[in-house]
């Protein structure tokens, strides 16, 4: 188990080829091999949500996925999600509402919030609280985050003129 194995996958739309130890988790692979340090590590046991990334369209805890499990997969991190403009409105709502302080939970929080907004176009506050209840934030007390997600959901639901 100490021999690196080859790994190919798509990360933020770019093909990545690497050799990794089988025990390496996806969060450490993204951070240490690809220097995608926007994926944060808070607990390394799947509780805090700071390492949330998108894997083949679904959000996962990158600390609970082994890098070798992502062979041939498509991974999107906060850097990719930001650069594509997919969550520009959500980020603007976070900024306007000051929905982050230290910012360490924020990439994971945005990942989880966008996942909710993709699957549930008009979530109420309780649904937002429920969906984000696996993402730990020590700074904000959550209310500003809930407000920002709610605002984004409402704006997206409005017919575009």
């Amino acid at each position: 188990m100490t021999t690196p194995v080859p790994l190919s996958l798509d990360v933020n739309g770019e093909r990545v080829d690497a050799h990794v130890l089988p025990r390496l988790n996806l969060a450490d692979f993204l951070r240490e091999h690809l220097q995608l340090t926007g994926t944060h590590v808070g607990c390394e046991q799947g509780v805090c949500g700071a390492c949330t990334v998108r894997l083949n369209g679904d959000i996962v805890r990158a600390c609970l996925v082994l890098a070798v499990q992502t062979e041939g997969a498509s991974v999107v991190t906060i850097e990719g999600l930001s650069d594509s403009g997919e969550i520009a409105d959500l980020q603007a709502a976070f900024r306007d509402r000051n929905a982050l302080q230290c910012g360490f939970c924020t990439p994971g929080m945005l990942m989880a919030a966008q996942d909710l907004l993709q699957h549930s176009p008009a979530p109420d506050r309780d649904a937002i609280r429920e969906h984000l209840s696996g993402n730990y934030c020590r700074c904000t007390g959550y209310q500003a985050i809930i407000d920002a997600v709610e605002t984004t959901a409402q704006a997206r639901a409005e017919p575009r003129s």
């Binding site: 130890l21 025990r23 951070r31 220097q35 995608l36 340090t37 926007g38 994926t39 944060h40 590590v41 808070g42 607990c43 390394e44 046991q45 509780v47 805090c48 700071a50 991190t77 906060i78 850097e79 930001s82 980020q91 976070f94 900024r95 306007d96 509402r97 000051n98 982050l100 302080q101 230290c102 910012g103 360490f104 939970c105 924020t106 990439p107 945005l110 506050r125 937002i128 609280r129 429920e130 984000l132 209840s133 696996g134 993402n135 730990y136 934030c137 020590r138 700074c139 904000t140 007390g141 959550y142 209310q143 500003a144 985050i145 809930i146």
Partner: protein, 797 residues
């Protein structure tokens, strides 16, 4: 008083047409954090960087009889395995005492334990390797021969003669004791109609910053200079202490603090493993990175608030509170923390009890004992939540005893808003507080009478909801009275340098730090307002001892009040300098000119005269065209520290509305309200979010958070799955209101707001739970209010 308040919202000359003061504007640093482009220490990589993992004691108390690292040294990737004795040759030990806390004692603490480990989690060896994984592998191969000793775990018996003494050289396990006796306490109790007593129990908990503590120390042997990258709240303090214990001059140490993933007081201390990391960099002559994992965080980040306190209150039938008395006991672990000490919390509790009230009779004893658990020290709100829970708990118990509404007893006893300046029985000096205005505002926000009616209607349906109130005072803007007078080299003043650059933008260097509160934003708002320059043209540099003025940093709610005033005064000085140059260029006088929207204008009619970028161009590139004898100074530096009052006290009140399920013991938080008075508000949104975040930390303590130790001193829930923290699903919406009583100590008038939320949240919840349980004749004075605690009180388990 040098300031005239000419606006109802408390603003004076800062309330200029283009002012950012009092306005919600987005924080300048928020975009990079949202895009995953922040720079936390845990993200950093340097050439030749190695990783350190600390091997930690599995025992709470043991002798180290031997340590064999031979096998570990041969493991792949291992660079060094360093023991406590080896590291002691590089870095000296320390003792966490301060002279103004009379009698406080502690034992010398080493960066790595040498032959005696005193808590589960104390580091005994450093394993340095090319990767953290390699170091962790090698750590498993280090064999330590421990001789386990009896652990002192129960603070109630820590001082009993049969209990082992943890540090023989200290003679006993008593770290600190303080007694206070003000007024005529015995007489007051004797003259009371009722005296109510209760035993208050507080769960030991911790800060759980989402980014664990992280340090990257880089010793450049060629320059003989150490650069420390650390998520700290106090860079100059770290610089001073690292230099002191490594035998360096302060000029040989630079501390750089980039983005910090949460601090809350956890990152204002100097930890043994951080000291060890600095020393390892020097010893091994290369960058060494230490990032705590979550298990280490729970076992080594300071804990706080482990208190048992007997409280008494005397009350007359008309509602007059006659006296308070407390006997507080706290266990701080095996060492007083360095350099702020672990006696401050208990000391603060003695200071703060009864603080909002008129009663002048007050007696207190606080004892601080050593035990074989992780160290305790200052965490957000330092002492406030404990003091507030005891005070407000006693006030509500007294009200219950004489059948008086909790609002009414507060109305009769809170210090009147026109009663200032005044002092508390413990000697705290209050410049101007607003307890009654805050109470009135809170009652309106929550519609108190309607809630009481709803409560009564639901009780008939066997639904048990409660309302809890908690008035509080908050220590902010600390002067040298906090640490400096006790001999700690922790700056209580802060400095700001402001410079107009060649394109008319402003660079501002400040000694306060940013951990998400908005230090950067409030500095830019103040500087932009005073200079008449758009905020986006103001760049703020902080967190670098090489590149900022010397100062305290951001802790104890001092950033806005102290750093903000320094920014204000620096900007005023630069503004005068700019207008002097403008007057020379325009053949006018400085008093006839103003700066508005990035241009010098006529003060009387606002006519634009010269844009700042043009003025700066002349100054920097064509000074030859200026009149003879003019030497422009487009940079100004000012420092500030409060001198008149040791602390700028703020005040406020919180209310909780919740439902107790008497079958399951679960508590559902329905709504929370806060009214607080932090003086001049620079950015309302930032203040409100500080309050909300603080409240939720207090709610965590109220309902969930507890470091659970067994009788052998093992922390049994040292992970985020078992140590519960507030998550979004359980938290209520929190309404925040303000009363504004600026401090006259500064022109800005700002006081702090960082502790207010945490100070009163648990007290409000406890009082609400007892209110809900009134029909059952049950009162609970213990937090966290877990289902087990509630059901035990109800006699159902």
């Amino acid at each position: 008083m040098k300031k005239t308040i000419d606006k109802p919202n408390g603003l004076s000359e800062l309330d200029r047409p283009n002012s950012y003061i009092g306005k919600t504007v987005p924080r300048p640093n928020i975009e990079r954090l949202m895009q995953g482009r922040g720079s936390y220490v845990s993200d950093m990589v340097l050439p030749r960087m190695a990783h350190v993992v600390y091997l930690r004691s599995p025992h709470a108390h043991a002798k180290i009889a031997g340590l064999d690292a031979d096998a570990a040294r041969k493991m792949p990737g291992v660079i060094a395995v360093v023991t406590g004795r080896e590291l002691a040759a590089v870095i000296t030990p320390w003792v966490g005492v301060l002279s103004h806390l009379k009698g406080l004692k502690s034992a010398p603490q080493h960066a790595l334990a040498i032959d005696h480990v005193c808590w589960q989690g104390e580091a005994v060896a450093a394993i340095v390797a090319t990767s953290r994984a390699a170091a962790e592998d090698a750590a498993e191969a280090v064999v330590v021969d421990y001789e386990e000793l009896d652990a002192v775990t129960d603070m109630r018996t820590a001082l009993d003669p049969p209990t082992p003494v943890i540090h023989a050289s200290l003679g006993d396990n008593l770290a600190f004791e303080r007694k206070l006796d003000a007024g005529e306490v015995d007489k007051a109790f004797a003259e009371s109609d009722e005296v109510v007593e209760a035993d208050f129990v507080f769960g030991r908990h911790t800060g759980v910053t989402l980014e664990p503590r992280a340090v990257l120390a880089d010793w450049n042997a060629a320059e003989a200079r150490l650069t420390i990258y650390q998520g700290t709240q106090a860079p100059h303090m770290v610089m001073n202490i690292a230099a002191l214990h490594l035998g360096l001059q302060e000029s040989q140490v630079r501390v750089v603090c980039k983005d910090v993933g949460g601090s809350f007081g956890i990152k204002v201390h100097i930890y043994a493993d951080e000291m060890a990391t600095y020393a390892l960099a020097k010893l091994l002559r290369r960058p060494i990175k230490f990032v705590a994992d979550r298990f280490e965080s729970f076992n080594t980040d300071i804990h706080a608030r482990d208190h048992l306190c007997k409280g008494r209150i005397g009350i007359k039938r008309d509602g007059t509170i006659t006296a308070f008395e407390i006997d507080d006991l706290t266990g701080i672990g095996p060492y007083s923390m360095y350099p702020r000490t672990s006696a401050i919390e208990a000391n603060q509790i003695v200071n703060l009890i009864g603080g909002p009230y008129l009663a002048k009779n007050y007696r207190a004893r606080a004892r601080v004992v050593f035990q074989n658990k992780n160290v305790m020290c200052q965490y957000r709100g330092v002492g406030h939540p404990v003091a507030c829970s005891i005070t407000e708990g006693l006030v509500d118990l007294a009200a219950m005893k004489i059948k008086m509404d909790p609002v009414e007893i507060r109305r009769r006893n809170l210090i009147p808003d026109d009663g200032y300046p005044c002092a508390s029985p413990s000697g705290l000096r209050f410049e101007l507080l607003s307890h009654h205005a805050s109470l009135d505002k809170l009652l309106k926000m929550m519609d108190y009478d309607a809630l009481r009616a709803e409560q009564a209607a639901l009780r008939a349906k066997n639904i048990h909801r409660g309302i809890g109130l908690a008035s509080f005072i908050e220590v902010t803007n600390p002067s040298a009275a906090f640490y400096g007078v006790g001999g700690a080299r922790i700056s209580s003043q802060d400095g700001v340098a402001v410079r107009l650059d060649a394109t008319g933008s402003v660079i501002c260097q400040t000694s306060i730090t940013e951990q998400g509160q908005g230090s950067e934003s409030l500095t830019a708002q103040i500087v932009g307002s005073v200079l008449g320059i758009s905020m986006e043209r103001v760049r703020v540099i902080l967190g670098d001892t090489d590149n900022t003025p010397y100062g305290g940093g951001t802790w104890a709610s001092r950033g806005a009040g102290i750093g903000g005033e320094a920014a204000l005064q620096a900007a005023k000085a630069l503004r005068r300098n700019i207008l002097d140059v403008a007057a020379a260029i325009l053949q006018s006088s400085a008093s006839a000119l103003d700066i508005v929207d990035n241009a010098v204008v006529n003060a009387d009619d606002g006519t634009p005269r010269i844009p700042l970028h043009e003025l700066a161009r002349i100054v920097y590139f064509r000074p030859d065209t200026l009149p003879p004898g003019i030497q422009p100074e487009l940079m100004a530096t000012r420092h500030f520290v409060p001198r008149e009052y040791p602390f700028a006290f703020t005040n406020g009140i919180q209310a909780s509305w919740l439902e107790v399920d008497t079958d399951t013991g679960f508590i559902k938080l329905l709504k929370h309200w806060v009214v607080e008075d932090c003086g001049t508000i620079i950015n309302p949104q930032l203040v409100d979010e500080q309050i909300r975040g603080g409240v939720v930390q207090g709610l965590g303590a109220a309902l969930f958070e507890k470091c659970i130790y067994d009788e052998r001193g093992q922390l049994t829930n040292a992970n985020m799955a078992d140590y519960l923290v507030p998550m979004s699903g359980e938290m209520p919406d929190i309404d925040v209101g303000h009363v504004v009583s600026p401090t006259f100590e500064s022109e800005l008038g700002a006081k702090g707001a960082g502790e207010a939320g945490t100070a009163g949240a648990a007290a409000a919840v406890s009082n609400a739970v007892n209110d809900a349980l009134k029909p059952f004749g049950v009162t609970i004075t213990e937090i966290p209010l877990t289902p087990q605690v509630v059901l035990t009180a109800l006699g159902r388990v």
